[in-house]
């Protein structure tokens, strides 16, 4: 599609009046001044409706007994383009692998959601949440417990009824 340019027809200087233009401008601003419809969003009270595809703060899914679903396979730290996931895996006496250390640096994270896509057991998810302000920088490294505590819904890119997108 070609870009069209609108050429403004300006009146001749002999027929322009600053005063008249100023007064009509003031009428316009007055109309806006008394117009009760405002565009400001009163943020903490009025929240923006997040997109279902929104990718925000991570959530670690857990089993009913409170163990993380993560099996420490090491795929998410491998695929992570920002290199923000630190994983140290361990193995219990039945041979089940579990994460000893699982940390996500939310500052480095670019919220691409590839950790969620690559996870074979649907353990790690990106969530529909964005308010993670803290007083210190080190609070932005979320450890395993904190990731499991997150109670916001995970992104709708992942459907819990169809966990492996089949």
């Amino acid at each position: 599609m070609a870009i069209s340019v609108k050429v403004m027809q300006r009146p001749e200087p002999e027929s322009t009046s600053y005063l008249r233009a100023a007064l009509s401008g003031m009428a316009l601003t007055f109309k806006h001044m008394v117009n009760p419809a405002k565009v400001t969003q009163q943020y903490p009270e009025e929240m923006t409706e997040l997109s279902p595809r929104w990718r925000g703060t991570h959530v670690m899914e857990q089993h009913a007994d409170g163990r993380p679903k993560c099996v420490a396979c090491g795929l998410c730290p491998t695929v992570c383009p920002a290199n923000c996931i630190r994983l140290v895996g361990g193995e219990d006496d039945q041979g089940n692998r579990y994460p000893i250390v699982y940390e996500i640096d939310e500052f480095r994270c670019i919220f691409c959601g590839m950790c969620q896509e690559v996870c074979p057991v649907e353990a790690i998810h990106v969530g529909r949440h964005f308010e993670n302000a803290e007083y210190t920088r080190d609070r932005f490294v979320y450890d395993l417990d904190r990731l499991m505590e997150q109670d916001h819904p995970s992104t709708l890119l992942w459907d819990p009824s169809d966990p492996s997108s089949e």
Partner: protein, 430 residues
């Protein structure tokens, strides 16, 4: 009723000083709030509404913030003048209020109290003198900062304020000719006697005064000294914290004072329609007018009259404050040469010519022997109205403030083919 005297007069004076200055500072603080709210409404926003109900405590929060902020002093600044400048701007903007009457005289058990801090005989001259002083602070602040933007702002401030002071003074002379006195209480009294406010019989002077007052207070569309898009913030670029705040307070203080002055000179001050509130000291007596045979009629001051007239004064001042804000968020800034052209080529000749016209009209009316009253004002209204219409008709046709179209004939045609492309395609160039 006797005027107040002795010890009660001293106490009354102290109370008036304290009361009026507190009021002015309060109005200044809430003018900043009003500016932010009204600008927000004009732009379909909400403005500050978090601190207190409707954000009404916002000025206090701003004040605390400004006090707690760090005071910076540029390494190359002239320390003495850098500190002196905000004070020199702040003081003149506030002391001007001392000669403006704010309400009808208040009767007390000890005598009648005038609702004015100082009813000095030089009245308007005092106002002009102090409003001229403010420019020193601006220029000094700009120069002492040792910053090119601040310096340019200071230079512009001096040029602009000197230019518009001329037409400000000349449009005032029309008022003084009609009132026959320079004290502001007398100006109010004469408007009561005339039966109409000076905005009508001196309409062109009113228009000129409002425009000049905008330029004098450095408000848009005349905010050359602090043109944000050109000069960072102009003369107070280098100022921070409370010193910056002092500049801001003085800007709004100027606005409040200028609004009160416009209300007093052209909208009757505290006068409300009707003769019930008229009051003036005449030969030691408070009178409300003269009978047909020339005998003074004694006034009957009352507390409710004082309150009501004060409400009227506040409403008029508030109207001008709103006008200031409204215009600021409507009109774009003039170019520097447009400001100078408007000041010297339009405002000055117009105010001079109008001065002659008013003088002649008054002379003719006095020669005819017309009684100073409503008819007198009506004739002047017609003459001034004709002058205003003629002025707008002849001056406001692309000559005063010309838009882009006016300079179209001077524009050079710009070649649309870039030279690099043109040289490739030009045959026989190589």
């Amino acid at each position: 009723m006797e005027p107040i005297s002795g010890m009660p007069a001293v106490i009354a004076m102290a109370a008036k000083n304290l009361g009026i200055f507190t009021l002015v500072i309060l109005v200044v603080a809430y003018a900043t709030y009003a500016e932010r709210r009204v600008s927000a409404f004009i732009q379909d926003r909400r403005g500050p509404n978090r601190v207190g109900p409707f954000g009404l405590l916002q000025p206090i929060a701003d004040g605390i913030k400004n006090i707690l902020k760090e005071e910076t002093l540029p390494a190359t600044a002239s320390r003495l003048f850098f500190v002196l400048a905000p004070i020199m701007v702040l003081v003149p903007s506030l002391v001007t209020f001392a000669v403006i009457p704010i309400a009808a005289p208040l009767p007390t058990p000890w005598g009648v109290v005038d609702m004015i801090i100082a009813d000095v005989p030089i009245g308007i001259l005092y106002v002009l003198a102090f409003s001229s002083l403010a420019v020193y602070g601006v220029v000094l602040g700009g120069w002492a900062s040792n910053n090119k933007y601040a310096f340019l702002g200071g230079l512009r401030a001096s040029a602009q304020m000197v230019s518009y002071e001329v037409s400000l003074g000349l449009s005032l002379i029309a008022v003084l000719m009609l009132a026959g006195n320079v004290t502001l209480t007398e100006v109010v009294w004469q408007q009561q006697q005339l039966g109409m406010w000076y905005a009508f019989p001196l309409s062109l002077a009113f228009i000129l005064f409002v425009i000049s007052a905008f330029a004098e207070t450095n408000r848009l569309p005349f905010d050359m000294p602090e043109a944000e898009s050109e000069l960072v913030t102009g003369y107070h670029t280098e100022y921070s914290a409370m010193k910056f705040s002092a500049f801001m307070i003085s800007e709004f203080g100027h606005m409040v004072t200028a609004s009160a002055l416009m209300a007093t000179l052209f909208l009757g001050g505290w006068d409300l329609p009707g003769a019930w509130d008229n009051a003036f000291w005449y030969n030691g007596q408070l009178i409300s007018g003269f009978a047909a045979n020339g005998d003074p009629i004694l006034a009957n001051p009352a507390a409710w009259k004082t309150l009501l007239t004060f409400a009227g004064f506040a409403a008029k001042t508030g109207f001008f404050l709103l006008l200031y804000i409204w215009i600021r968020w409507t009109l774009p800034r003039f170019r520097y040469d447009q400001v100078m052209a408007l000041g010297w080529k339009v405002m000055l000749p117009t105010s001079l010519g109008y001065l002659m016209l008013v003088a002649m009209t008054i002379l003719v009316l006095d020669e005819v022997g017309l009684h100073f009253g409503f008819l007198y004002g009506l004739v002047l209204t017609l003459v001034s109205g004709a002058a205003s219409v003629a002025c707008v008709f002849f001056l406001d046709r692309g000559r005063t403030i010309a838009g882009a179209a006016a300079t179209a004939s001077q524009k050079v045609e710009i070649k649309t083919i870039p030279t690099a492309v043109a040289s490739v395609h030009a045959p026989g160039r190589h």
